[in-house]
Symmetry: none
Subunit: 194 residues, 4 copies
Amino acid sequence: MDRRSQILQMAGHLFSQRGYHATSIRDLAQALNLQGGSLYAHIASKEELLLEVVRQAAARFQEVLEGLPEAGPKEKLVALVKGHLRVIAEELPRATVFFHEWKHLSPPLLEEAKALRRRYEEGVQRVIAEGVEKGVFQVENLRLATLFLLSALNWTYQWYRPQGPMPLEEFSEAYAGMALRALGAGEGGEDGQA
Amino acid sequence: MDRRSQILQMAGHLFSQRGYHATSIRDLAQALNLQGGSLYAHIASKEELLLEVVRQAAARFQEVLEGLPEAGPKEKLVALVKGHLRVIAEELPRATVFFHEWKHLSPPLLEEAKALRRRYEEGVQRVIAEGVEKGVFQVENLRLATLFLLSALNWTYQWYRPQGPMPLEEFSEAYAGMALRALGAGEGGEDGQA
Amino acid sequence: MDRRSQILQMAGHLFSQRGYHATSIRDLAQALNLQGGSLYAHIASKEELLLEVVRQAAARFQEVLEGLPEAGPKEKLVALVKGHLRVIAEELPRATVFFHEWKHLSPPLLEEAKALRRRYEEGVQRVIAEGVEKGVFQVENLRLATLFLLSALNWTYQWYRPQGPMPLEEFSEAYAGMALRALGAGEGGEDGQA
Amino acid sequence: MDRRSQILQMAGHLFSQRGYHATSIRDLAQALNLQGGSLYAHIASKEELLLEVVRQAAARFQEVLEGLPEAGPKEKLVALVKGHLRVIAEELPRATVFFHEWKHLSPPLLEEAKALRRRYEEGVQRVIAEGVEKGVFQVENLRLATLFLLSALNWTYQWYRPQGPMPLEEFSEAYAGMALRALGAGEGGEDGQA
DNA sequence: AATGAATGAGTGTTCATTCAT
DNA sequence: CATGAATGAACACTCATTCAT
């Protein structure tokens, strides 16, 4: 891994643990056995680092959407939930920054971060909408259902720990079940207009 | 409202909007038409301010738990969801600080904040556990179900805006419905062992 | 004792213990069960307090000089040493400020403090000069002998504690003996050209 | 001389002239043609600077004790007095800080400063004690005699100026003479048990 | 690439002092 | 007389960033 990647990795780690503002360039340099000024041979600014971490996380989440199987809504939703939680488990620091620290970007870059987040949310909404259209999901309000699902998913970065007692597979299986039920697509029913 | 309450209110507002570290004492003072140093006639430190805001929010959430009706699990859960969302709607800045900024407290005070959050989460878990015991809720894993619910509820502070297009009543009604279904207590069924 | 005297006493106490700059007006007020601003009904400024304490100490030392017995040089010197040490013992805080903290006065007032100290030193020098003229003291260099004596006397405020194990009388008796010998006026000899 | 030594030297100079609390980090930086914050590339804190200056002075005084000739008590005491006064003359700023400003250290460091001072005083006391044991010095009270000598010596930093009219050699010669007499070891007598 | 010294703005906090009440 | 709120300047110290080496 080249220097820049090392720096980005460590930045993700520290930003996620302490927060962007509470992490100084010197903290970051020290964690890499460097002097503060030395980072500037590799990066343009602290803020660029933040944006880059956000972009990397966004890319991982976007891959989930793009890798969804061509299948019925339930299967798709399960894949989405599992994929989302896998990204969080595998990329906890970056995901944390994606969910929280992006707010500290300043206007020009902030827009990009917002757009990345919006794009993902729209993708999630499409998955639900498709299920509703096909009569598999029953929701009163599409937007609200999307936000309910995203909330349940996003907040997990706050408490799920991959090294913890619950393996990812068990965790995401159970989570997907609750998500389906919340969307009115309980266990039994066929997937699609059977 | 006395000066200290004004300061606390404004601190909650700014901490929630910009984050604790990105809000300087001078920012806070300026928002109150004061000089930076003048705040120290009313507060002991910036950190004390943060803790106080966290405490106030925690108190509001705790009231919800304590005001739950003596009723069946479904009714109780609905009241919990609605109460939680009402606190978020009515106390958006403080709730935001309660969910996020508490992390920036330093060790002695950090423990108090963690304890306050833990106490609330345990209360929520008890409500779900009761429903499970009475056979009203069907969940695979109690802890996970609690975290699912808390996630769906907590993250709302990120996107729900009381001045937005959706009135609180409609929002929380729909949200409660999804929560119930997620816990395996769909519409129909009696509340309790009918 | 009126308020102003109380304030002056406490100021002497705190200035001597912590130093002028390390004692804040609020420290002083607090020690008197007052609010910081309240002191200004009684004093003009912090610096005025310092000068006043210096003046009070200077007056006590000056009294020693003026109360010296009309007697031979040895007797006079013994009275001077004992008087000086008594003032230190009885007025430790003020004496400490007189010896040290006067330096923090700013130019206009600084001159007064310097003059007070100079006046006392000149008085001490006259006592020694008289002994030299009368052939009782044998010193190589009058100025140096004076400074030697003053040094031995002044520094005592650093270590002599009236509540300590050595009673003032014993202490100053022994001290006077060493002073006399240093000035070449050992035990035996008559006092004056008998 | 490297930057850190320059800073320490200037710190000694300013602390001795104005006092520790009356010397700001910006004063110090300005005297070195730097910005305030720039000092922190070289030092850890203002207090560290104070302790370091105290240590350097203590080392110089301790060298005097350790370089004392193996000779009779009178010769040794003369060497001690002259050595002590030479350190004051050559290291006036540091010596001043050693005598006065050490009090502003806070507890953990304060103890070190006290220990350094105590060690030196004990060394001085041993020199006198030896002379007393050998019958060369006659003192009523060993501890008091030590404090008398130390007082006469220490206070000199307040008034002796190396650039002044009196050369160090003449000054310390005369001072040593008075010290010897104060200890009851006048000119004539042999040095030792003749 | 990396260092180490420097900058200038900014941090939270304290200060002596003022003043309406 | 005393209070409590306020000021404006100062404090020690940290920050992101620059740059000669």
